[in-house]
C-alpha cells in the first residue's frame, strides 16, 4: 500500500509486528463478521449438491453423502476479508477441490472458474488459485458443522484470497477458458483479490 498523508493526532493501536497480517488489515480476534448481501438460505445437507461442469471431460454432481465420503483434509491458518478484518488460526474441515477436479478431469483449455452458490451468488477465480491444495469445499469450522450464516452446509474455501472469493452455500464450479466477473466483481471488486497485494477494487 502506498502510505497516505498523516492525519493530525492519529496514533492508532499499538503496533504489534504481525507478519501474517496483509496490508490494510486488522486482527478481528474472536469476531467472525458476517457480510453476505443476501438472505441466508435454509439449505439442508440433503438438499445440498455440488457440481463441477464447463470445460471438463466428465461433468459431475455429488450429493452431500457422496461428497462427505471423499477423502477429507483440513485447513488451519488465516482468513482475510476485504472489509479489512483478518482472522488468525482458524480451522476448516472439508475436501480438497483437487479431489473433485481430478474426478471431473479439466480440459487443458480451462484457465478460470466461476464458483456459484445455491443462492445464485457467483465469484470468479483463476483455475490455478483453486488447484494444488489451495482450495477446499469446507463442511466444518472448528470441528463443528459450518453455521448457515457462514455458508453452511458447505462453502468454498480459498484462504489465500479475500474471503468474498470463498463462496458460501457452494453449489458448483464451472470451468471456463476465459475470466468472467462474478457478483462482487461486477460491482467494482477486484478480479483476483490477493490480500498481500491489497487487490480490493478493480484498478488496485
Amino acid at each position: 500500500m502506498t502510505g497516505g498523508h498523516p492525519t493530525r493526532g492519529f496514533v492508532g493501536r499499538p503496533r504489534t509486528h504481525n507478519p501474517g497480517l496483509p496490508p490494510g488489515q486488522y486482527d478481528a480476534r474472536d469476531d467472525w463478521p458476517v457480510l453476505s448481501a443476501e438472505v441466508t438460505p435454509e439449505l439442508a445437507p440433503d438438499d445440498w449438491t455440488f457440481r463441477v461442469d464447463g470445460l471438463v471431460a466428465e461433468p459431475r454432481t455429488w450429493t452431500w453423502d457422496e461428497a462427505r465420503a471423499l477423502p477429507g483434509s483440513s485447513y488451519e491458518g488465516d482468513i482475510h476479508c476485504v472489509t479489512t478484518w483478518s482472522k488468525f488460526g482458524v480451522r476448516f474441515g472439508g475436501v480438497s477441490l483437487d479431489v473433485f477436479l481430478d474426478a471431473a478431469r479439466p480440459d487443458p483449455a480451462a484457465t478460470h472458474v466461476v464458483a456459484y452458490s445455491h443462492t445464485g451468488y457467483t465469484t470468479n477465480l483463476p483455475l490455478a488459485d483453486v488447484t494444488g491444495g489451495k482450495a477446499w469445499v469446507a463442511f466444518t469450522y472448528e470441528d463443528a458443522p459450518l453455521p448457515a450464516e457462514h455458508g453452511g452446509p458447505a462453502r468454498l474455501l480459498v484462504p489465500h484470497l479475500y474471503f468474498w472469493k470463498s463462496a458460501k452455500w457452494l453449489a458448483g464450479l464451472r470451468l471456463l477458458d476465459h475470466d468472467e466477473p462474478g457478483f462482487w466483481e461486477q460491482n467494482g471488486y477486484h478480479a483476483r483479490g490477493n490480500p498481500w497485494e491489497e487487490q480490493r477494487y478493480a484498478g488496485d
Partner: protein, 246 residues
C-alpha cells in the same frame, strides 16, 4: 461442452448501477468541516471532498487514517448525505467502545483535520430512486437508508418509500427529529419495548404491496432477523438487499 451457465436456484440479486473503477481506486483528501451530535453515542461528520464524483443513496466509502510512522487504519462507512453537488459528503458514526477509527473521529478529530477516502463503492445496495423502497435498519444501519430518504425528499420523488428504524430508546434514535409519516421507529427498551416484528411490516404488504425493493441494514443479527420477517411476509428473496456491518 460449454452449455450456458445457469445457477441451480437462481436468486442472485443484480447490482443496481455500474460502478466507476477509477473512483474506487483513488484516495482523495477529505477535510472535516463540521461535527454534529446526533445521539449521545453518534455524531455526523461533514467533509469537503472537492473531487467527489457523486454517489447514489446506499453506497459506502472506505475511510483511511494514517499515523506519522505510516501506520494506517481503514474502515467502511455508508454515505449519509444524499447525492448533491455541494462538494461535501456526510458520514454518521457510532462511537464503538475501543474503536480505532470511530474512536479517533469522535474524540480526537476536529474541524480542519484531513482524512482520506476512496469511493463511492459497491453498486449493490444503491437505490437510484426508481423502485418503491422498503427500508429497514437498526442502530447506525439507518445511515445509508437516510441517504435514500433524503434523496426521496430532495427530488420530491413520487415512488413509495417506507422506513422502519429500530433503536434502543428515543434518545438513541439517530436522526430522530428528521422523520416524517414515512417512518416507523421501533424502540426496543422504551415505550413499545419490543423488536421489529411482522405486524410492523405487514401493512406494507396489503394487496401484495407496490412491488417493494427491500433494503436491510444493521448488525448481522438484525439483518438475519429482519430479512426473515420480510421473506415470511412474501417479499421475494431476489428483491432483498442486505448490508451487514459485520
Amino acid at each position: 461442452m460449454s452449455e450456458t451457465f445457469t445457477p441451480p436456484t437462481a436468486f442472485a440479486v443484480p447490482g443496481r448501477i455500474a460502478v466507476s473503477n477509477r473512483a474506487a481506486a483513488t484516495w482523495q483528501r477529505a477535510v472535516l468541516t463540521e461535527i454534529r451530535r446526533e445521539t449521545p453515542r453518534v455524531s455526523t461528520f461533514r467533509f469537503a471532498v472537492p473531487g467527489w464524483q457523486g454517489h447514489l443513496p446506499g453506497q459506502h466509502l472506505m475511510l483511511r487514517l494514517t499515523a506519522e510512522d505510516g501506520y494506517t487504519a481503514q474502515r467502511h462507512y455508508s454515505l449519509a448525505s444524499p447525492p448533491d453537488d455541494s462538494g461535501h459528503i456526510e458520514l454518521t458514526l457510532d462511537h464503538v467502545e475501543g474503536g480505532e477509527v470511530s474512536g479517533f473521529l469522535h474524540t480526537v478529530a476536529r474541524v480542519g483535520d484531513a482524512v482520506e477516502v476512496r469511493g463511492p463503492l459497491s453498486g449493490f445496495f444503491a437505490w437510484p430512486g426508481d423502485r418503491p423502497a422498503l427500508l429497514v435498519g437498526a442502530g447506525s444501519g439507518v445511515v445509508p437508508l437516510m441517504s435514500m430518504l433524503r434523496h426521496h425528499r430532495q427530488r420530491q420523488l413520487a415512488v413509495p418509500l417506507r422506513l422502519f428504524v429500530s433503536a434502543r430508546t428515543r434518545e438513541d434514535l439517530i436522526y430522530g427529529d428528521q422523520y416524517g409519516d414515512e417512518t416507523t421507529p421501533v424502540l426496543t427498551r422504551e415505550s413499545e419495548r419490543r423488536h421489529l416484528d411482522t405486524d410492523h411490516l405487514a401493512p406494507c404488504f396489503t394487496d401484495g404491496g407496490p412491488g417493494w425493493e427491500a433494503y436491510v441494514c444493521g448488525s448481522n443479527a438484525f439483518a438475519e432477523h429482519a430479512s426473515r420477517l420480510l421473506v415470511r411476509l412474501g417479499q421475494p428473496v431476489d428483491r432483498i438487499r442486505i448490508e451487514r456491518y459485520g
